[in-house]
């Protein structure tokens, strides 16, 4: 299913239509948005290098991770870094987003070169100005395509960083302009859903045609407050999660899909959702020194217990206790309960809870008016 996203981005925009736009969402409970972003970026890069994609290159707007991080990522995926300039341009909005470094370097207060700085990236020093950012992205994209007429993809990591520096309307405007640009083939961005208002997330989701959100596999059961009780769930959620994908079609129809993923050394691995996930959630009991689980026999015995309530649903006449009984009813009830007791003696396989009402001990006095003690 996740590969469908990559294929949709690979195929790009139809003539006369906006470019497909993907929102990758995650949260602190399932913080794998950056890994999903890396996966989509790597897959799209492979399509571009193999010339199987509508886009001829990618402009990567790096706000959250620096260019060195992506160089290492591409190296680990086997991409040729030496030729990467032909198909990827990194707009470095991470190293010096506000121009602090440039100010200090110009005044000679810090050294001009730092050991781990990438020389391939294009430094951008004013992330608050989204108009200039848009121009910078388009300019870099045009450098990637042949004759300045082909199409390019845009990847933004992350829009959450962008929203710290600019308003939601400016960010939405930037994304909308990119999506409707004639040379943009496709567009995808990362968003951390739990640090933004719902309306901001909704505004960005309206712009996107595909949404992929990373969710935890299991959530702690309500009432589990202690860390020791939540640990097994938290640990499982750090090993993988679920991805929920929402495709919006041109005609307005929405298609929903879900998959599971797990984190491996090589990256993310996707699998269809299994029913085991629910079983695992039920079997996650805290690791303590005493037994909290039930054996098969104990489960069977518990199932056989007859609850001491009126609504048994066991085929017998339902009798609702209204608080006052006539003597005739008492006799009938005594016969009923004695019959039941006989039954319980013979039926040794059933569990039983014997319940005595407190009010059964008190016999009502027929001469007494129960309203005598009222003082109105």
């Amino acid at each position: 299913m996740a590969e469908r996203i990559c294929r949709a981005l690979r195929d790009g925009a139809l003539e006369g239509e906006h470019a497909p736009a993907l929102t990758i969402k995650d949260s602190n409970e399932s913080p794998f948005g950056s890994l999903l972003f890396n996966h989509v970026l790597s897959q799209l890069s492979s399509f571009i290098v193999a010339q199987k994609s509508q886009s001829q290159g990618i402009v990567l707007v790096a706000l959250s991770r620096g260019p060195l991080y992506y160089e290492q990522l591409f190296k680990s995926k086997g991409n040729n870094i030496a030729s990467s300039n032909k198909w990827i341009k990194v707009l470095d909005c991470c190293t010096d987003p506000l121009g602090w470094r440039s100010k200090l370097m110009e005044s000679g207060r810090i050294a001009s070169l730092t050991p781990g700085t990438s020389t391939r990236a294009n430094l951008y020093k004013n992330v608050k100005d989204l108009n200039k950012l848009l121009l910078a992205i388009v300019e870099l994209g045009k450098e990637l395509v042949e004759d300045g007429k082909g199409r390019f993809a845009v990847a933004i990591d992350s829009v959450s960083e962008m929203l710290r520096h600019a308003s939601i309307s400016s960010v939405a405007g930037l994304l909308s302009n990119l999506r409707s640009h004639s040379q943009v083939s496709c567009l995808f961005w990362l968003l951390h859903s739990d640090i933004h208002e719902t309306k901001a997330i909704a505004a960005l989701e309206y712009i996107s045609s595909i949404q992929a959100s990373s969710d935890p596999i299991t959530r702690p059961i309500n009432g589990q407050r202690a860390n020791s009780e939540k640990l097994p769930f938290l640990e499982q959620n750090l090993r993988g999660g679920k991805i929920h994908i929402r495709f919006k079609r041109r005609n307005g129809r929405v298609r929903l899909m879900s998959e599971e993923f797990c984190i491996e050394q090589s990256g993310i691995k996707f699998t269809p959702i299994s029913s085991e996930a629910e079983m695992i959630a039920q079997s996650l009991v805290p690791k303590v020194q005493f037994n909290l689980e039930l054996s098969e026999k104990e489960r069977n015995d518990r199932a056989k217990v007859v609850l001491p309530f009126e609504h048994q649903g066991n085929g017998k006449t339902i009798q609702i206790y209204d608080g006052r009984k006539s003597p005739n009813e008492d006799r009938a009830e005594i016969q009923y309960t004695s019959a039941e007791k006989v039954q319980t003696v013979t039926d040794s396989g059933r569990g039983e809870i014997i319940y005595f009402r407190d009010s059964d001990d008190e016999m009502p006095d027929s001469d007494e008016d129960p309203d005598d003690d009222l003082d109105i």
Binding site: T114, E161, I195, E264
Partner: protein, 249 residues
């Protein structure tokens, strides 16, 4: 000779070069974790350096505590293994010099950058420690977005110079309803989150609280399964004892 005894906290943390966030609360202070990191980084068995930005306590406070733990901060400071910045009066200094909050943070970043340049020659592991971020926020008149900008620049330094960044912040001073709270954003950037919390049963004589170490396994461009460790601790005069629940006799 000071021999570093491996303990549960070190086992849970693994290697260096990462962004670590320590979260504590009123009931359980996480300052002892900072002291642990300080001692670990300034071990006589290594040549690692520490850049300490203190908004909370003066140098003498840390010196007193670390001496009892067998680490002489004065000697480390003289050897340039420890660069200590006393920033308790940052706010009033800024007002005197009529600097804006952005100027204050810019000059603070300049100090950190220069310190990293000094410590990186000869090449060695560098740890930047900030105690604590909530007081940095106060120093810049609670402009949390600017604090995040400053921290972003520190994260860039860790990526470029391969140093570690350890910050302490208080989890209970931020509203859970405030979605853009500073601490939530810091959790996103952290590779490891260490939470110091009280026991669910309250304060005890022999057990002073519990630590939960959440290693997301996503740091340094390497993909690993995350792991979580939970253990209890007892603070003594000259050391901290870490142990699993129920394992103390």
């Amino acid at each position: 000779m000071d021999v570093q005894v491996p303990n549960l906290l070190d086992d849970a943390l693994g290697g260096g070069g990462r962004v670590v966030l320590i979260e504590d609360c009123v009931e359980t202070s996480g300052a002892f974790v900072l002291h642990h990191f300080l001692k670990r980084s300034l071990s006589p068995n290594s040549s690692d350096a520490v850049i300490f930005l203190s908004f909370s306590q003066p140098f003498s406070h840390y010196d007193r505590i670390l001496r009892k733990m067998g680490c002489n901060l004065v000697v480390r400071r003289d050897n340039k293994r420890l660069l200590f910045f006393d920033l308790l009066m940052l706010n009033s200094l800024g007002r005197e010099e009529e600097k804006t909050s952005e100027d204050l943070l810019l000059s603070l970043y300049e100090k950190v950058h220069k310190a990293v340049e000094i410590c990186s020659s000869p090449a060695r592991n560098i740890t930047i420690i900030i105690d604590d971020v909530s007081l940095l926020e106060v120093a810049v008149n609670c402009l949390s977005n600017m604090v995040l900008d400053f921290l972003h620049y520190c994260y860039s330094l860790t990526a470029e110079f391969g140093c570690s960044l350890i910050t302490l912040n208080h989890e209970d001073i931020y509203s859970s309803l405030d979605k853009s709270s500073l601490i939530l954003q810091m959790e996103y950037h952290a590779d490891v989150v260490i939470k110091a919390e009280p026991l669910s049963t309250g304060l005890a004589t022999d057990v002073h609280g519990q630590l939960t170490v959440i290693d997301k396994g996503l740091g340094g461009g390497v993909c690993n399964s995350g792991k979580i460790c939970n253990f209890q601790f007892r603070i003594k005069d000259n050391q901290i004892e870490y142990f699993y629940p129920g394992s103390r006799t």
